[in-house]
Amino acid sequence: MDEPLALGVAAPDRPHAPWVLRGVGGVLVLGGVVLAAVELSRNGAWGPALSRLALGAFGWGPLVGAVTGILEARRAAAPGPVLWLLGPAAAAWLVGWALVALGSMRGSGSAPVVTEGTAGALSGPLAGWRDFHLSTLAAYAVGILGAELVLVLVQTALASASRGVGWGPPAAFGVALTAGAAVAFVGGFVGAARSRKLSAPEATIAVLYLGVPLPALLSILPAVPVLDARLGPRLREVIYVANLLGRPEMGYWLVFSLLVLALTLGILTGFVANASGRLDVRTGFELFVARRHVHVFRPRLLLGALVVLLLGIIPPLIVLGILRAADAAVERTRIRELGRRDPLAAARAVHDAQERSQSPTAMMTALSVGGVGVGVMALIIVLSVMSGFEVDLQKKILGTNAHVVVLKYGDPQAGMPEYPEVMKKVAGVPGVIGQTPFLLGQVMVSSEANVDGAIIKGVDPETAGQVTDLPRNVLPGGDIRWLAHPEDIPVRTRYKLDKPPADDVIQAPKNAPAAPPLPGILLGRELASSLRVLVGDPVTVVSPLGGGMGPSGPIPRSKAFRVAGIFYTGMFEYDSKFVYVGLQAAESFFGIPGATGVELKVKDVDDARRIASTVLNALEGYPYRTKDWGEMNRNLFSALRLEKLVMGIILSIIVVVAAGLIVATVTMLVLEKRKEISVLKALGVPQGGIVKIFLAEGLQIGLAGGLLGLFSGLAWCLFIEKVGLRLDPEVYYIPSLPVKVEPLQTALTVLIAILVTYLASIFPALRASRVEPVEGLKGE
């Protein structure tokens, strides 16, 4: 059937030239690949290149991953050889493909020889055959490239304009991504509408040749200093957003993939809406047919899938088995009894029972719904738990640390005596809602029972609460205000008298009427328990330096404090390592005038970085410098975000598998309904209508699965939140699994899952539309 013989056209002897062209082209392409490979091993870049490859395997990363790998290796290997082989490799690749294309065109372009029959106007399907649409290519190119440029421009414009206004780069990114996706969608729609087909070659060319370069450029930017110096400042807003992820290139390719997805959706929608020759987005009839083909929204199916999602597979199966067996036994006895009295009614019952047994396609449909549901549910639960951890961590870190600190270059012993002026200047910066001076040092803390190392922080009890949660973290029984009023600290009577410790006694004159009260100190819960002290107990703070030089070297300086309170932040590190004293006490202890710096609280924590730079501007730069909380805890948060992203990608594999199930299901449906497709075509349904019918069937499955997944995922999250899964607090320092359902993230998960299933049914739907009308009407 596939022979190239056609009526009136004898297969001509094809000349050899096209094959030579194709062969040479193919060899050149291979040569390009080999050259690139040689270059890789020459630079010893296989390791990094492969690791990049593995990381980027989920997106468009591989190619660029390899290139950045090489560049990294080159930077590592000092002034290594220039990558002169890569240029020829790329050239060979391009020229090779051009030759292959030329060969193909020559090969098929030989003129046919008319032998018999009459030549007339092109008829039937031949009339619609045309190969390449330049206007479609242009539309796709504008779609993808325009989307990228719009994204970059909008991000730059919005993020720059919002400097100091209050809504940060992430919000700007949301707007920019939406705008970019809209452009890609429109480009795809217009292109497909012009050619009235999907035009895969045009789309491929547009994406590969016009879409890839920008993210590729961004990815290799850090590895090429020349480019970085020239373009880095212009693209800084984009780079900044990508850096929030920890691995910027992953961010670029993820966004690129999203834009390609938007383009694909646009192409598909444009095709479906215009395939019948004019814009036709009405779907009433198609939905009518699709709903009869696939009964997804049946209460029994939905309920069954939901129960499986909520309780797991095995228990419902056992229950179902028991119910089925009982039903069948009762039913058979009933029909037998009925048969004695009323054979007609019995026959009817047998007929109904047979009717109820499910077809394989119905089974597949149920499985696909379940598959999509499982994927969406897993994604929602895992992402919500990870968000929970992140929020918990952020809350604890920000409860103890300031959002932004102002520091000073130079000798730490010089301190920042002018901190009141600094605070006055900073107070005028928009977005700053609290500030307090602090002084930081490292000490040993000793009690009668134990000794431990600690970081001591001098704080202003009056204003500390504006910036951190310290006052609120002090456990009942203590009070931060006692740092300023040590005379109020209740003295514990564990010791017979309120006698200062021995070394203090040495310095105090013996006949003093009353020793001044010991200054107060706040300890973390863990530190307090390791020192075995309670509020009112005295502790001694020792600094190894600062006591001057003695005959045997530096003399440690020490001072007695009284525990004014015990605080609990929930972070083991803070609770075991931090102690707080009054600012004046710290100043006199360390002999540092003023403070180490000023801590600030900002209105929007996500915008801390930007506000920090504004603060620095207000202070006119050197000798001052600022650090934001993200910078201080960068590793922690970027690791967390990256982990979340990778988990998301891995779990998406479930959704991809489910999409495969949908492909199989809809393909089976198409095979099952071949005859019906032919009949529908005979009744006047155009190709686009058939595509719509089967897309709707796939979409129904995706919709049902996505909603079930959403519902069960939220149910699980609620369960985890309300009932709680216990964690070992010794290990996690958190009593139960934290959950934070982020609405945007959840909605995006469901939306993307549904879109993926929608895309998955394109292929079978297109196949269905190509069923010839006579195909199903024959052979009976």
Binding site: G117, G120, A121, R292, E676, K681, P686, G688, P773, L777
Partner: protein
């Protein structure tokens, strides 16, 4: 000009690499409102000719105009509309859609045309009454007898009042009495609505009852 004007129609198949020429330069004119019977030996290409005439199958070469429109040059969308509005098909098997009731099956061409659901169903009900199936509207095709299903198929073909009715052995699977009922409906719609009809049949009696009789032999038609 004739309502249907066919010139030099060629159609070939390839079976295991061998070419089978089914239509060899077939030319034919059919006037508006004619009722034509087409007979011929099995395998002579009657069904193929009917499919080509209904644009379900494309010929290799030749020209064909229906109501002044060159239907072979139409694109997919226009072809679909042509099949939907101008042509009504009745096949040897009923080819009703199994998931839909008789009423819905009849309404489908109207729904394809984006007619309102209620209007389409009303129209379909009227046609089912006309073919004598008012009591079977809510039955699925599996619950209908062969004759009933074929009458539903006929109603479906007529629901949009096509100008050209193509029937491919509509009574081939039915007993003579049931078949005669179908024939009667065919003759009625031709007379009452002026629908041009081409009926392929093996039934000599039916063929003889038609005003114009054609025979397909050697890939061409001749009067029978």
């Amino acid at each position: 000009m004739a309502f249907v004007q066919i010139r030099e129609l060629h159609k070939s198949y390839w079976l295991h690499g061998k070419r089978i020429d089914v239509l060899r330069g077939l030319s034919l004119d059919i006037e508006r409102g004619e009722l034509v019977s087409l007979v011929g030996a099995s395998g002579s290409g009657k069904s193929t000719f009917l499919h080509v005439l209904g644009t379900l199958d494309a010929p290799v070469s030749g020209t064909m105009e229906v109501d002044g429109v060159d239907v072979l040059g139409l694109g997919d969308a226009d072809l679909a509309r042509f099949r939907n509005r101008t042509v009504g098909f009745v096949f040897q098997s009923h080819y009703l859609l199994p998931e839909f009731t008789a009423l819905e099956n009849v309404a489908i061409p109207a729904l394809v045309q984006r007619m309102e659901r209620s209007a389409a169903l009303r129209r379909a009900r009227g046609l089912l009454e006309r073919v004598g199936l008012a009591s079977r509207v809510d039955h699925r095709p599996g619950e209908l007898s062969g004759g009933e299903a074929q009458r539903v198929a006929l109603a479906r073909a007529l629901v949009l009042e096509p100008t050209l009715l193509l029937a491919d052995e509509p009574t081939g699977n039915l007993d003579p009495v049931t078949g005669e009922g179908i024939h009667q409906v065919l003759r009625d719609v031709n007379r009452d609505l002026g629908i041009t009809a081409v009926v392929v049949t093996h039934n000599e009696a039916l063929a003889r009852s038609m005003p114009r009789r054609l025979r397909l032999t050697g890939g061409r038609v001749e009067p029978a």
